[in-house]
């Protein structure tokens, strides 16, 4: 846990009034999600050896949120506050969630019911639909409350959206995925990448060779503008020309 990320997140938490966390018990929601998903992962005998999951945010994130200390909760909540901030800044007609986030999708859908929400066909979609869909912290069964579209990996780069939201760990290491996301943006569209500083490891003195710098270098080569914000665990926004 990085001290700067911790302090900035706790102040962000105290200074913000976000739609998500002001309407639901964020801690209970996280604990329930983490418990359900980790129970499922245990039931399928997921390979949890170091060689298979070390440093893998997509895995340890669920372990983390299952039993969060308040300080960690502030950091996680801060990431969702940052997402909500960008999502609510203007009303896109279409939003694509690279990761089927069972919290932000209903929040966004409630706020902008006429906008089209689309998600990627991947593990997070399966977990949202099959494993965490019965939670009642959102005030309804998340799977029954709204309509959404789903695309497959090969459709990315072909379909068009006004906004794309993704967690960094689902992109890093795949240049083609990132470029397809940029291709999928309409002109003037925005790509939001959350947790884009690799748990603050990007800010070490060798940042120029850090793997997450590759993602930013690639974005800077595209037709548009790239903004990296160093608060918390980092947000990167790309606006397409």
């Amino acid at each position: 846990m990085d001290n700067f990320a911790l302090r900035s997140s706790m102040v962000t938490q105290q200074s913000s009034k976000a739609r998500l966390s002001s309407r639901v018990d964020f801690n209970a929601l996280m604990t329930d999600t983490g418990t359900r998903v980790t129970n499922f992962l245990t039931s399928i005998n997921l390979d949890k050896r170091n060689v298979a999951v070390a440093g893998l945010n997509s895995y340890w994130g669920y372990e983390l949120i299952r039993e969060m200390e308040p300080e960690w909760m502030a950091i996680v909540e801060c990431e969702h506050i940052a997402q909500e901030q960008i999502l609510f800044t203007h009303k896109p007609n279409s939003v694509f969630f690279m990761n089927a986030d069972m919290m932000m999708i209903p929040v966004y859908k409630n706020r902008f019911p006429d906008s089209t929400v689309c998600v990627m066909n991947n593990a997070s979609l399966f977990l949202m639909e099959s494993i965490v869909g019965e939670m009642d912290h959102l005030g309804y069964r998340s799977e029954d409350a709204y309509e959404y579209d789903v695309i497959d990996r090969e459709d990315l780069g072909v379909e068009k959206f006004d906004m794309i939201v993704a967690w960094s760990w689902s992109i890093v290491g795949s240049d083609s995925m990132l470029l397809d996301m940029v291709s999928s943006l309409n002109s003037g569209g925005a790509l939001l990448i959350d947790c884009s500083n690799h748990n603050t490891k990007l800010y070490r003195e060798d940042f120029h060779i850090h793997p997450y710098s590759r993602m930013h270098d690639l974005l800077k080569e595209q037709d548009g503008y790239t903004y990296h914000l160093a608060n918390g665990y980092g947000q990167t926004v790309f606006i397409k020309n």
């Binding site: 895995y59 066909n121 991947n122 399966f126 579209d149 497959d152 990996r153 060779i209």
Partner: protein, 103 residues
């Protein structure tokens, strides 16, 4: 193919298509590592890592013999490939279980 999942409707997740997309990308990493794709049912993540680490070897001798830029590049490629391989392996395990789960 884009599909709409209506409120309260059938689940939209397609395990078969998900597995296909994972294995298409994983095939590239296996190729770089020198693992035959047709061995994917038998291969373990350990095998992939072993071969990747052999190809993108990092040690003090690498640093001393080839210099810092070469070492840095090797380190970066090593991370990007192993991190992506881990992510895909994680997704694949869930996709295979989902295929079974959904019958």
């Amino acid at each position: 193919m884009r599909r709409t999942r209506s409120a309260g409707g059938e689940k939209a997740y397609d395990a078969a298509e998900h597995i296909n997309s994972i294995e298409r990308e994983l095939a590239t990493i296996l190729y770089i590592a020198g693992v035959e794709f047709n061995q994917i049912s038998d291969v373990e993540i350990d095998d992939i890592f072993f071969k990747l680490r052999k190809s993108f070897h990092m040690s003090s001798s690498t640093y001393n013999q080839q210099g810092k830029p070469a070492y840095d590049l090797t380190r970066k490629q090593n991370f990007l490939l192993t991190n992506r391989a881990r992510h895909l392996w994680f997704e694949r395990q869930i996709a295979l279980a989902a295929a079974e789960h959904n019958g």
